[in-house]
C-alpha cells in the first residue's frame, strides 16, 4: 500500500513538472498559433544555467535566479529573432524552424559543457525525507517540487482569470484580430507570453536537475510527452494542461512501476521486464489516441 502511495506521489511530481512545460507550450500555441519544438530546449537551458551557477557559486538562490533568467532571456530572444517571423506561416515552416533551433541549442550546449551529463546535488537544506504516513517516507525535495508546481498552477489561474494581462491573453487566444483592432500592442503581449512560457520551462528544468541527469537531449525526451499532455488537455487551455499533465504523469509512472511486475506473473522475468517497459512507454500514447478518438479537441478545449 505504501508502495502504491509512493508511486502516486512520484506520478504527481512528474505530472507537475509536465504541467510547468505544458502550460507554456499551450499558451504559446493557443495564443500565437506556433508549434514550438524548441520549448524543450528552454527546459534544458534552465537546467544547465542553474547547474552551472550552482557549481560556480554554491548558492541555491543564485542557481535558481540564473536558471530562470537564462531560460526567460533565451526564450524572448528566440521569439524576437525567429518565431516572430513565423506567426503568419503554416505549421510546417514552424516545425522546421524550431527543429533547426533544437539542433543549434543542443550543439551549443555540447560545445560549452561537453557530452558528459552534469550531476546536481539536492540543496542540503532540502535533503532528507519526511514521514508522511506511518511507513511512508518521502523525499522533501520531491514534495517541494509538487508544492511549487501546484502554486504555479494557482498563480497562473489567478493571472489568467483575474488580471488585465490574463484578460488580454484569453482574448488573444480566441479573437486575435479583434484584440489587435482594439489597439492592444499584440507584439509586446506575444513576447511577454513567450517569456512567461520560457520562464516556466526554465523552472521545470532547474528543479529537474537534482532528480534527473542534466544532459543534452533532455529537452526532447520531455518535449514529446509535453505535447501529449497539451493535446490530451486541449490545445490552448491551461486547465486542460493541468489535468492532462497530472493524468499523463500518473499513468506513466504507475505503468512503469507496476506493469513489469504484473507481467512477470504470466511470463519469465527478463521478457516480462522488456515487454512491460515497452508497454509502459506506449501507455501514454495509447491514452492520447483514445482521448483524441473520443474527443478530437482534447478533454478541455479552449475555444468552445
Amino acid at each position: 500500500m505504501t508502495l502504491v502511495l509512493e508511486q502516486l506521489l512520484n506520478g504527481l511530481q512528474f505530472g507537475v513538472m509536465l504541467f510547468l512545460l505544458a502550460a507554456g507550450l499551450t499558451l504559446i500555441f493557443g495564443i500565437m498559433g506556433v508549434i514550438n519544438l524548441a520549448h524543450g530546449s528552454l527546459y534544458m537551458v534552465g537546467a544547465y544555467a542553474a547547474a552551472f551557477a550552482a557549481a560556480q557559486t554554491g548558492s541555491v538562490i543564485i542557481a535558481i535566479l540564473a536558471g530562470l533568467a537564462a531560460a526567460a532571456l533565451v526564450g524572448m530572444a528566440m521569439e524576437l529573432f525567429v518565431l516572430r517571423r513565423l506567426y503568419a506561416r503554416d505549421h510546417l515552416d514552424q516545425v522546421l524552424a524550431t527543429f533547426a533551433l533544437i539542433l543549434i541549442f543542443n550543439q551549443s550546449v555540447t560545445l560549452l559543457f561537453g557530452r558528459q551529463p552534469l550531476f546536481v546535488s539536492v540543496p542540503p537544506a532540502l535533503n532528507g525525507s519526511v514521514e508522511l504516513l506511518p511507513g511512508l517516507t518521502y523525499p522533501i525535495y520531491r514534495l517541494i517540487i509538487i508544492a511549487v508546481g501546484l502554486l504555479v498552477a494557482l498563480g497562473l489561474y489567478l493571472l489568467i482569470n483575474r488580471t488585465r494581462i490574463g484578460m488580454l491573453v484569453r482574448a488573444g487566444a480566441t479573437h486575435r484580430e479583434m484584440v489587435r483592432a482594439l489597439g492592444v500592442d499584440i507584439r509586446l503581449l506575444y513576447t511577454a507570453v513567450f517569456g512567461l512560457g520560457a520562464l516556466l520551462a526554465g523552472l521545470a528544468g532547474l528543479m529537474a536537475g537534482p532528480i534527473l541527469a542534466v544532459q543534452v537531449g533532455m529537452g526532447e525526451q520531455i518535449l514529446i510527452m509535453t505535447f501529449v499532455v497539451v493535446v490530451i488537455g486541449g490545445v490552448g487551455s491551461i486547465r486542460g494542461a493541468f489535468f492532462g499533465a497530472l493524468l499523463v504523469g500518473l499513468v506513466d509512472t504507475v505503468l512503469r512501476a507496476f506493469l513489469p511486475g504484473l507481467l512477470r506473473q504470466v511470463m519469465t522475468g527478463s521478457e516480462a521486464d522488456a515487454l512491460g517497459a515497452g508497454l509502459a512507454s506506449m501507455g501514454i500514447y495509447m491514452l492520447m489516441a483514445v482521448v483524441l478518438l473520443v474527443r478530437p479537441k482534447g478533454l478541455f478545449p479552449a475555444n468552445v
Binding site: 505535447f227 500514447y285 489516441a289
Partner: protein
C-alpha cells in the same frame, strides 16, 4: 501552397525547359556511378543510394503532406516497419521457421519489397482510418503517438533484437545479381525510385490527384459538390504509407541492419525536413530535399563533429528566407518550371 495550385495539377504538358531538365536529371543519375568511379570517388555511390532511398520516402510523405495537406509526424512508423518486414522475413528464412507459425521467410527482393509495401499500406490504413478523424495539430500529434507506440513496441520485442536491432547478414537476392555490389544496388534503387516517381506523377495528375488538391484547399467546398473527403484522404494516406514502407525495406537492405532507430520520431522529422527543404507539394522537391540533407550531413560531418551547429542555421535561413524550399528557389532562378 499557392491558391491556383489546382489549375496546374492536371497532367502538365511539360515545357521544353522542364523536359530538358528531367532528361538531364535522368542521364545524370544513370551516369553517376560511372562518373564517380572515373573520378576515383567510389564511396559516393552508397551516398547516392541513400539519397535515392530517402527521396522515395520523402516523396511518399509528400503525397500526404504536400498534396493531401495531411501533416503526418509519424511516417517513421511506415519506414521502420518496412525495414522490419525485410529483417523479420530474412531472420525467419535463416532459421528456416515460420513467422507467427504461418509465413515462411524469404530473402527474395521481389517478395520482400511487395510485402513491405503491403504491410506499410495496411498499417497506414489502420492508422489513417483513426487519425483522419482529427485534423490540424491534433492530427500531427496523433500520428506521432502511433509512431511512438510502434517504436516502443519494437524496442520491447526482444525476439527481434529489441533496442539493439538486428543485422541482416546478406542483402536480399534479385535474379542472381550481386546485390552486395554498390553499383548494382544503386541501380536497383534507381529503378525503384523512378517507378515510384512515375507512379506519383500519374497519381497527382489523375482525377484522384485533382480531388486531393481540391480537398487540401477547401474541404468543405469539395464535400458540398458531393465528394466524401475522408475516403480520398485515407486513400492518399495509404499510398503514402506504402511508398514509405517500400523505402524502409530498401533502407534495411542498404544498411543490412534494422533497429528501432528507423521508427524514432526524429526520423519522421528528418523526412519532413527533406520535404520542406525540397518544396512542399512539388513532385521533384523531395528528391532535391533528400539530396540536400543527406549530402549536407555527410559533408559537414567530415568537417566537424559539431556539424549540427552549421546545419541548424542553414535550415533556419532556408525557412525564413526562401518560400517553397529548394524547388521554389530553382524556379525563381529560372531553372526549369515545376508543376505545383
Amino acid at each position: 501552397m499557392s491558391e491556383d495550385a489546382i489549375t496546374h495539377t492536371g497532367s502538365p504538358a511539360p515545357s521544353t525547359g522542364r523536359a530538358l531538365m528531367l532528361l538531364a536529371l535522368a542521364v545524370g543519375l544513370i551516369a553517376l556511378p560511372f562518373l564517380v568511379q572515373a573520378l576515383g570517388q567510389p564511396a559516393l555511390v552508397p551516398l547516392a543510394t541513400r539519397v535515392l532511398i530517402y527521396a522515395i520516402a520523402a516523396a511518399s510523405l509528400n503525397l500526404a503532406l504536400g498534396f493531401g495537406g495531411m501533416v503526418s509526424f509519424g511516417h517513421a512508423a511506415f519506414f521502420g516497419v518496412g525495414g522490419y518486414v525485410v529483417g523479420i522475413l530474412y531472420r525467419t528464412y535463416v532459421d528456416d521457421g515460420l513467422f507467427l507459425g504461418l509465413i515462411p521467410g524469404t530473402s527474395q527482393l521481389l517478395i520482400t519489397l511487395p510485402a513491405a509495401i503491403l504491410i506499410g499500406g495496411l498499417l497506414a490504413l489502420t492508422i489513417g482510418a483513426l487519425c483522419l478523424r482529427t485534423s490540424g495539430v491534433q492530427f500531427i500529434m496523433i500520428t506521432l503517438a502511433f509512431a511512438q507506440m510502434l517504436f516502443f513496441l519494437f524496442v520491447s520485442l526482444k525476439a527481434y533484437g529489441g533496442d539493439d536491432g538486428m543485422t541482416i547478414r546478406r542483402r536480399n537476392e534479385l535474379f542472381g545479381l550481386n546485390t552486395r555490389d554498390d553499383i548494382t544496388f544503386y541501380f536497383i534503387c534507381l529503378t525503384v525510385a523512378a517507378l515510384v516517381f512515375l507512379a506519383l506523377w500519374r497519381i497527382i495528375g489523375s482525377r484522384f490527384g485533382m480531388v486531393l488538391a481540391g480537398i487540401r484547399q477547401n474541404e468543405r467546398r469539395m464535400a458540398a459538390i458531393g465528394i466524401a473527403p475522408y475516403r480520398y484522404k485515407l486513400a492518399a494516406f495509404v499510398i503514402s504509407g506504402m511508398g514509405t514502407g517500400l523505402a524502409g525495406a530498401l533502407m534495411a537492405n542498404y544498411l543490412r541492419f534494422v533497429s528501432p532507430d528507423m521508427l524514432h520520431w526524429t526520423k519522421s522529422g528528418e523526412l519532413m525536413i527533406m520535404v520542406i527543404l525540397g518544396g512542399v507539394g512539388t513532385l521533384l522537391g523531395p528528391l532535391f530535399g533528400a539530396a540536400a540533407l543527406v549530402i549536407l550531413e555527410t559533408v559537414l560531418t567530415s568537417w566537424t563533429e559539431h556539424w549540427q551547429l552549421i546545419l541548424g542555421p542553414i535550415l533556419l535561413l532556408v525557412v525564413l528566407f526562401t518560400q517553397g524550399g529548394l524547388n521554389g528557389l530553382f524556379n525563381r532562378l529560372g531553372i526549369g518550371r515545376s508543376e505545383r
